[in-house]
Amino acid sequence: MTIKKDYVRPLDLKNGRIDMGHGAGGRAAAQLIEELFLKAFDNEYLRQGNDGAVFDIPAGHKLVMATDGHVVSPLFFPGGDVGALSVHGTINDVAMCGARPLHIAASFILEEGFPLAELKRVVDSMAAASREAGVPIITGDTKVVEKGKGDGVFISTTGIGVVAHGVNVSGANARPGDVVLLSGTIGEHGVAVLSQRESLEFETTIASDTAALHTLVAAMLEASRDGVRVLRDPTRGGLATTLNEVARQSGVGMLLEEAAIPVLPQVDAACELLGLDPLYIANEGKLVAVCAPQSAAAVLAAMRAHPLGGNAVRIGTVTEDPHHFVQMATRFGGRRVVDWLSGEQLPRIC
């Protein structure tokens, strides 16, 4: 047997598992960072190897910081996984403030016993998402919790971005008469995840729509820097809850056209089967925008010209309403309130 002088037995990425030592801050933790995280995310900032990352920003801009925890179960689902999600989700929250995302920080909470092979899959997927989006993961942290006190891996990501001059995007900016735009079909992410849940399992080709929306936002702001008033990604709680949030924040009402809201037939079918409403299902690659009426057409055209906005549509109008109701003219010809999600959306039998 010949052993190299500085040989260190590498992480067993095939059969190894996370143990408490990987979170204890010693040599095992350092090895995990080097052989897994650093290798996958490799960039100059992370290579600084310090408690945080130091970076420059273009002068004179406003900054945006956004954070999200990612706790999806199962960790892997059609169209994505918790890793890609954690990158896209935070890029999107930064972008929804009208900003160009620059950097991401990632905090991992690992459960003792989590297979290193799965962790590697997650980390590689994050790395790919970050590379593709051009938003590097520049600093991070890893903790390990005891078996039964976590769920494989939780990832909290925080993004930082810069807002261009003249951009003023906020959920508080909607005004009566504004136009509500939606970037595409709703409900795929939530249904793709549900389809993998034990005891709900069904076969479908629906894949999560998880995607980084910052380039779409850039195209929209290019079309009208000041006409885009609100941007929001309808994640948890779905389109319905997101629009209610905006209505309340801006002190307005909304009137939607059900017929205008695009839903894939498979998503519709899954919702019928489980007693769910696509309006309340999570999306991870869609955005809703409120635009000044005079800019709406240009913004919509810019969305449609972007690969992530090909199915963009105008779905409604902002109204004056002291109760901040989101209402909807139904495809059937009636009208109803589209309320906030109440509690958790559970599959129903009645």
């Binding site: 389809s195 076969e203 079918a269 089967l273 009645c350």
Partner: protein, 80 residues
Amino acid sequence: MCLAIPALLIEMIGPDQAIVELGGIRKQVSTALVPDALVGDYVIVHVGHAIGQIDPEEARRTLAMFGELAGATPALETQP
């Protein structure tokens, strides 16, 4: 409300077990309660069980009747 939905029976996969299709998704259901259902039938699925079947002819007649003048279409089944 007893959520139930018509779905196309596309394959029998075992005793009292079948695959149904609905808007492009497939799901395994029990057919123990509809012993006469055949592939090609539309069964009504509730909590993972087919509990009844759609009669296509009746469906057609119902659609034709909607909003017609009373008696304008063949009368629906009426119990005295």
